[in-house]
């Protein structure tokens, strides 16, 4: 039975880019362990001969024509919610160097 330790929580938080404080790390360690304990009952289920289901529609290769369509929206309006814009581009912090 898996336990989610403080270290596990810190690792998961880093992977999912969540900046947790110490109190949260403690709390989540307990809660996540409890939730995992519940879902682990699947471990003993027999799935012989069965395939995983990733989608229930059965649809495959749904495509559309590669052509530009006008839906009545202004492309530059999409920038209205962006926190930092320069020359109609989304500005982010330096990533390299």
């Amino acid at each position: 039975m898996a336990t989610i330790t403080r270290e596990d929580v810190l690792k998961l938080a880093q992977l999912s880019r969540l900046g947790l404080n110490d109190e949260e790390v403690e709390e989540f360690s307990k809660e996540l362990t409890e939730i995992l304990k519940y879902v682990e009952q699947l471990g003993s289920v027999d799935i012989e001969g069965l395939e995983p289901t990733s989608q229930v529609t059965g649809l495959t290769n749904v495509t559309r024509k590669d052509e530009v369509k006008n839906y009545g929206y202004e492309p530059l309006d999409l920038l209205k919610n962006v926190p930092a814009v320069e020359n109609n581009q989304i500005k982010v912090k330096r990533m390299i160097g």
């Binding site: 989610i4 596990d8 929580v9 998961l12 938080a13 992977l15 999912s16 880019r17 969540l18 900046g19 947790l20 404080n21 949260e24 989540f28 809660e31 996540l32 409890e34 939730i35 995992l36 519940y38 879902v39 682990e40 009952q41 699947l42 471990g43 289920v45 799935i47 069965l50 395939e51 995983p52 289901t53 990733s54 989608q55 229930v56 529609t57 649809l59 749904v62 559309r64 839906y71 929206y73 309006d77 999409l78 209205k80 919610n81 962006v82 926190p83 989304i90 982010v92 912090k93 330096r94 990533m95």
Partner: protein
């Protein structure tokens, strides 16, 4: 159940198109009701100016002799995870506070094309993570039957708005029961369509393999009218399926020629005795029509919640990765570098339940754990799908309670995430299988509403609506 405050939806539209009712008056009426009932906190914000403008346009077209659509002038409320163009869309999360939708959901487009008018955005559990609406980052909605109790969730605001008769219909989403559960707790009709029947384009994604959108209404007839407008393929959502060529209205089926299966696993321990009595009484009323009612077993149903709470967080962790503070939503001020910006924006912007689900999801998808958790869950999901198919070879529809209990008190389950998850125990299997289901009011237990759940095979939405109208009449 007769509408005292609102006529049936198709009658409202007919009267508006005939010039007997004005869209502007109907919008004023619903806005005034929102104000009158504000203690229940069903609504996050109104879209009053936008609604009044649309109503004037519709009234002007009617005067010119035009028809304004099948939903002409009908006011509605959309759960705040639906993008409505030009309106704030928050998903009840701090991370989207102040976010103004730069485009809108296909479902909203279709409703507006038929003359319906969105007057407000309803409260929900943030990102639809929850069963009580207590996970809203803003405030909790109160159950219209008892304000000390929850309305259910995550579409609690939508259910409350309809139960309070603020509007004739509201939109919700159902990923693990989030339309049906609040419908059951609040005493309204809540409809979960077949997965893929209604486009999810423009709706904030939660778990993409189970998310559906659907209506909450006072009657089954109203639900059919609204679904008929929304349903069908959308090129903006490649998971959408064809609609029924006969549509979804006027679908009544003879109840005495129908075979129902009561789900054994939903009628055992864990079901509140008051709720059980109401469900058994509903079953007797159905039997009295001459319909055949048998017991059916789907032995893997007790595993469904565990399957769901692996698959759902996994897909949530993926869908919530877009909230990174760089392109929209809350951004941490003064971040020193990109990583600091990600960590800080998501730390402050997300509530506790969102963080829990993102971390569980990250865990079950991570290298070394993926096979044991996520892949295993997706395979047990296949088992459930087979069991539903086998059940539908024996009966036309499945029956059972929507929830194991009536609405619980505000604060009762908030300390225990797992206990909160157990409210979904009778709803999640339906989402995993992608089949349609409905909750209709079936009396009271401890003075609170009880919901009867009917489930149909995949793509049998027309039949489900048809039989539900017949069942609604005998209850």
């Amino acid at each position: 159940m007769p509408n005292e405050v609102w006529l049936p939806i198709s009658e409202i539209a007919a009267k508006v198109n005939a010039g007997e009712l004005k869209a502007s008056d109907l919008v004023e009426k619903s806005l005034s009701l929102i104000e009158q009932k504000k203690e229940y906190q069903a609504v996050i914000a109104t879209t009053a100016e936008r609604a009044k403008k649309r109503a004037s346009e519709i009234d002007a077209r009617i005067i010119q002799g035009q028809n304004a659509g099948r939903l002409a002038g009908v006011p509605f409320i959309a759960k705040d995870n639906f993008l409505v163009f030009g309106a704030e869309t928050t998903a009840a999360s701090n991370i989207l506070k102040g976010f103004t939708a730069p485009y809108q959901a296909t479902a909203i487009n279709r409703l507006e094309a038929e003359g319906a008018i969105c007057v407000a955005k309803a409260n929900l559990d943030a990102f639809a993570h929850g069963s009580s609406t207590e996970n809203s980052d803003f405030f909790t909605t109160k159950n219209p039957h008892d304000p000390t109790r929850v309305p259910g969730g995550s579409s609690g605001g939508s259910a409350a708005a309809v139960a309070l008769e603020i509007v004739p219909f509201a939109l919700g989403t159902d990923t693990g029961g989030s339309i049906r559960l609040p419908a059951s707790f609040s005493g309204t009709v809540g409809y979960k369509p077949t997965y893929g029947l209604v486009s999810r384009s423009g709706v904030v994604a939660m778990a993409s393999s189970t998310d559906v959108i659907g209506p909450l209404t006072r009657t089954v007839e109203d639900t059919a009218v609204v679904l008929d407008v929304m349903a069908g393929k959308d090129e903006l959502d490649s998971t959408t399926v064809e609609r029924n060529e006969n549509g979804y209205v006027d679908a009544r089926i003879k109840i005495n020629q129908t075979k129902f299966g009561v789900i054994k696993e939903y009628m055992g321990d864990g079901l509140d005795s008051g709720v059980k009595t109401q469900i058994e009484q509903a079953i007797e009323k159905i039997k009295a029509t001459g319909a055949e009612v048998v017991e059916v077993s789907l032995p893997s149903l007790p595993l469904a919640l565990a399957v769901y709470y692996i698959i759902c967080p996994a897909e949530v962790s993926s869908n919530l990765s877009r909230y990174d503070g760089q392109r929209f939503g809350y951004t941490k001020p003064g971040a020193k570098d990109l990583n600091d910006s990600y960590l800080g924006s998501r730390e402050s912007g997300f509530g506790k339940e969102a963080k829990r689900r993102v971390m569980i999801g990250t865990y079950v998808l991570s290298s070394g754990y993926y096979d044991a958790y996520y892949k295993k869950a997706q395979t047990v999901r296949t088992k459930l799908i087979h069991e539903f198919k086998e059940a539908f070879e024996k009966v036309d529809f499945l029956l059972g309670p929507t929830a194991p209990e009536v609405a619980f008190k505000i604060g009762e389950n908030t300390d225990d995430p797992l206990k909160m998850y157990l409210a979904d125990i009778m709803t999640v299997a339906v989402n995993l299988a992608g089949v349609p289901a409905i909750s209709i009011p079936a009396g009271l237990a401890q003075d609170m509403p009880v919901g009867l759940q009917l489930i149909a095979p995949q793509h049998a939405d027309r039949a489900l609506l048809g039989i539900s109208q017949a069942v609604e009449e005998v209850l």
